[in-house]
Symmetry: C2
Subunit: 143 residues, 2 copies
Amino acid sequence: MANYKIRRHTPQRAVILEELCGTKEHPTAAELFALVRRRLPRVSLGTIYRNLEVLHEDGLVRKLELAGAETRFDGTVTPHYHVRCRSCGCVRDLPAPLHDKLVTTPLETAGFSIEGHRLEFYGLCPVCRVAKGETPDAGVNSH
Amino acid sequence: MANYKIRRHTPQRAVILEELCGTKEHPTAAELFALVRRRLPRVSLGTIYRNLEVLHEDGLVRKLELAGAETRFDGTVTPHYHVRCRSCGCVRDLPAPLHDKLVTTPLETAGFSIEGHRLEFYGLCPVCRVAKGETPDAGVNSH
DNA sequence: GTGTTTGCAAACGTTTTGCACAGGT
DNA sequence: ACCTGTGCAAAACGTTTGCAAACAC
């Protein structure tokens, strides 16, 4: 609402979005920097950050501010949750259906108006499970 | 399991824990530093960080790594969720009951073993609601 | 031509670390 | 006496910003 901003078309911005949409890895700004640099060797890290911010403002990119880690970025903006591996730090999409508002809105709000929530899961990714000798079974609450 | 560590009793550690348990404000390390300094003027910020880490390891302190903000600390270790104000950044406890495992464990886990989740709410705190002219009504999803 | 965007480098805020010394046990 | 914990300062880390030049429109 009431926020039209002129955006110029720059190769930097285009390549950043292309690279982000071309991976499922939820890269950090630094990882994206490395990817983009292969195609635009003179790009700077500041440009990556500035464009990610712009793309996020325009709703083309999702920002994943996960607990206790660098911000990661997601080219898929449709709502879904994430799992993070506590061992290697990788982040994956969860294909499971979202929990609806009834479930994720607290009954008591301490006087706040609740606008939304962030839900994030953590555990061990398939690779780290094997590395730690866990049986790759059903995968839910195996401890 | 197999992790006994000798902890010495120091006034710094004691005061840090006392101050943290004596407030409901979920202070940052810097805020705690200011509080502790009033009683121990020569304490250093590094000591605050080191002790918060130790206290967290020992299960006496909870670390709140909220999305896109500095880490805050909570002297209450019993499980509960938090709300953060998107305007002033303050953090409050939610007295509402926790959602149980059924609700917060995804059906599909992408091969991960899920060990837990983090759920955090955001919105406007009572003070900021008034400042923005919101009617202080029931308080749920008022937009 | 105008105003956005870039590359570069410096600054920033939070957290961690190296080190010699103090102090708990 | 041992070795953890402290204060101090510097470094590390991810991110933001100031600036002049480059470029899109």
